[in-house]
């Protein structure tokens, strides 16, 4: 036996996952409350004790960890045009596993500076201008950032002809600066990997220490990465496969949490018709979006706002009055578990609508245009209609009843024909809650991680 341990410091729970590299299988998982306020090792040791009860005490050869504790990786990004470099900057931050608190475009104002100071991000991503394009905006924004009396590192990934000037302005103001390639070197060309690498470096060097995770990091042999980045890595591996093993192909993954809903898609999402014109920024193959207003507890109100109270009543079978009462309960007591029949019904409705809203916002849209020479289509975003796998993860979904029906809410809906959601898909549920752990493992042993995911994801059949 060659056991290794993966640790996920979550905002609520610290999850541990043990894998045997020799037999290439999952040994067990356990979870306990995260104790980031005092010493994170406490929660970790509690989780390990629980794991030992299940599988015995093992000598782990390696321990790898990811974290979304203490608010996760909180970022602000900034670009020039909202649909162009500002959007590219947002994509870069989300793909790096960040929680994007705010995206600014055009010139930052003094009010913005105050707001940034207040939000106090872990990292600021400064972009703007294509290479050789607009220089004034990013330089001006660097000047504004230089005036903010807060010590957050800044990643500069904009017009290369302005990068040095920005670096100088910010360094002279005592900021920690990292410069890398432009997120959009040419018009509509997305280049987010270099910025993501820098974000990851900053995360390793500074954020872990700042979040009180460094005591734990002494026990850990490798990679601390933000949890969403780990999940993204797992999904990309599951989709693409390795040299030795094939992947599952194009897929969508949904993670509904208490406060946010994360959606991942692994596909190019290009149009399949000839008379379709693509609009907007090209989409990354591995895309992550986060709905900050959609969640099962803290953000339950956002679901009702997005989908309407009528939809919640219809799906739950509860009266509007009762829904309102229960909603108040779960929002004020965010640790409420679905212990009564009514709460189970409400949670079912909320989860279904969270999936529907999240996937709708993630998926692209198709608009029919009548031109003088006939009908044409304009596609914005990714076409997910041919994606035939939906992965379900997240504590509030994997243990819910009717999870297949909840997942099916992410599918194409006749009443919203413009939304390019999957038409028909197999539902796979991450019952063991191991995706982030497999994302970590994928950095070292992709073949084993893939094999375990293929085995452990439980199929709930095909929904359409």
């Amino acid at each position: 036996m060659k056991p290794i341990l993966m640790i996920d410091f979550g905002s609520t729970n610290t999850k541990v996952t043990a894998v045997d590299l020799e037999q290439e299988k999952l040994l067990g998982t356990a979870a306990s409350y995260t104790t980031v306020q005092t010493d994170v090792n406490e929660g970790l040791n509690n989780a390990l004790a629980l794991l030992s009860e299940k599988i015995g005490t093992l000598e782990y050869e390696h321990r790898y960890a990811c974290s979304s504790a203490a608010g996760g990786l909180r970022m602000i990004s900034c670009g020039l045009v909202p649909e162009l470099t500002a959007e590219a900057a947002r994509q870069a931050s989300l793909g790096a596993g960040a929680k994007v608190m705010k995206v600014y475009s055009y010139q930052l104002t003094e009010d913005d500076a105050e707001e940034i100071e207040q939000l106090s991000p872990d990292i600021f991503l400064l972009t703007g201008g294509t290479d050789g394009g607009n220089r004034d905006s990013i330089i001006e924004n660097a000047r504004i950032l230089a005036t903010i009396p807060k010590d957050f590192p800044i990643v500069v990934a904009g017009n290369r002809t302005a990068a040095r000037t920005c670096e100088k302005i910010l360094t002279e103001a005592g900021k920690q600066v990292r410069v890398c390639e432009n997120v959009m070197p040419k018009f509509n060309q997305l280049n987010i990997q270099p910025a993501q690498n820098e974000i990851r470096q900053v995360f390793l060097e500074r954020i872990i220490k700042a979040k009180g995770l460094s005591q734990a990091s002494q026990l850990i042999s490798g990679i601390m990465m933000p949890t969403p980045a780990a999940v993204l890595a797992a999904m990309e591996l599951l989709s693409k496969g390795t040299e030795k093993q094939s992947g599952l192909g194009e897929l969508v993954a949904v993670d509904v949490g208490g406060a946010t809903t994360d959606i991942y898609s692994m596909t190019d999402g290009l149009p399949d018709r000839l008379n379709t014109v693509m609009k907007g920024l090209p989409e990354p193959f591995a895309k992550r979006t986060v709905e900050g207003d959609i969640g099962m507890r803290y953000s339950a109100g956002g679901i009702v706002e997005a989908a309407g109270i009528a939809a919640v009543c219809q799906l739950s079978g509860l009266s509007e009055e009762r829904v309102n009462q229960l909603m108040e309960l779960i929002i004020t007591h965010t640790d409420t578990m679905p212990t009564t029949e009514e709460l189970v019904k409400l949670d079912f409705a909320l989860a279904s609508l969270a999936v529907k809203t999240g996937v709708s916002r993630h998926a692209g849209t198709l608009e029919k245009v009548y031109t003088p020479i006939g009908e044409a289509f304009m596609q914005t975003g990714k076409d997910l209609s041919r994606v035939n796998k939906i992965i379900i993860t997240g504590g509030s979904l994997i243990h819910a009843g009717n999870v297949d029906r909840i997942a099916a809410c992410g599918l194409y809906d006749m009443t919203e024909p413009a939304s390019l959601r999957p038409q028909r898909a197999e539902i796979l549920v991450d019952k063991q809650y191991i995706l982030s752990a497999m994302g970590l493992l994928s950095q070292y042993e992709p073949d084993i991680a893939l094999k375990i995911m293929k085995k452990e994801l439980e199929s709930y059949g095909i929904a359409e």
């Binding site: 018009f187 014109v277 031109t371």
Partner: protein, 138 residues
């Protein structure tokens, strides 16, 4: 970075004529310009966004389906609004409905704020010559 002059080109409105814009793309690049080609079915906002981000020297609007006049209205004003003061605006193609005297058409588009107006059958060389004149390229 190169000192090349930068152009934003594209076919405006609901127009899907995709071939001519590729020919223009090649011709302009060949002539030493840096070209951002937005392709077909381009809205006014897309020209402006691209011009802002790339710090373009000129926006070149093509239209071949006769509705150019409607599509082009207000582009100059929006450019002013977006801070693209005095950016060069060209328009060319079959820009109006039917056969109208070209001098009248030219007059109308110039009043809309276009610096140069080109009729059907204009060769790329002619446009390049005008660009070089207007952008002081020797």
């Amino acid at each position: 970075m190169s000192e090349k002059k930068k152009l934003v080109i594209g076919v405006i409105g609901a127009d899907v004529h995709a071939v001519g814009i590729q020919i223009l793309n090649h011709a302009f690049e060949e002539a030493g310009f840096e070209v951002t080609n937005l392709g077909v079915m381009v809205s006014q906002e897309e020209y402006i966004a691209a011009a802002v981000e790339t710090a373009a020297d000129a926006i070149m609007v093509s239209s071949l389906y006769g509705h150019g006049e409607l599509d082009c209205r207000g582009l100059r004003e929006k450019c002013d609004e977006a801070g693209l003061k005095n950016i060069l605006l060209y328009v060319g193609g079959n820009i109006v409905v039917g056969k109208q005297p070209f001098n009248e058409v030219e007059e109308r588009f110039k009043r809309m704020g276009f610096n140069r107006v080109f009729g059907p059958g204009t060769s790329p060389e002619e446009t390049i010559k005008a660009l070089k004149e207007d952008l002081n390229i020797k």
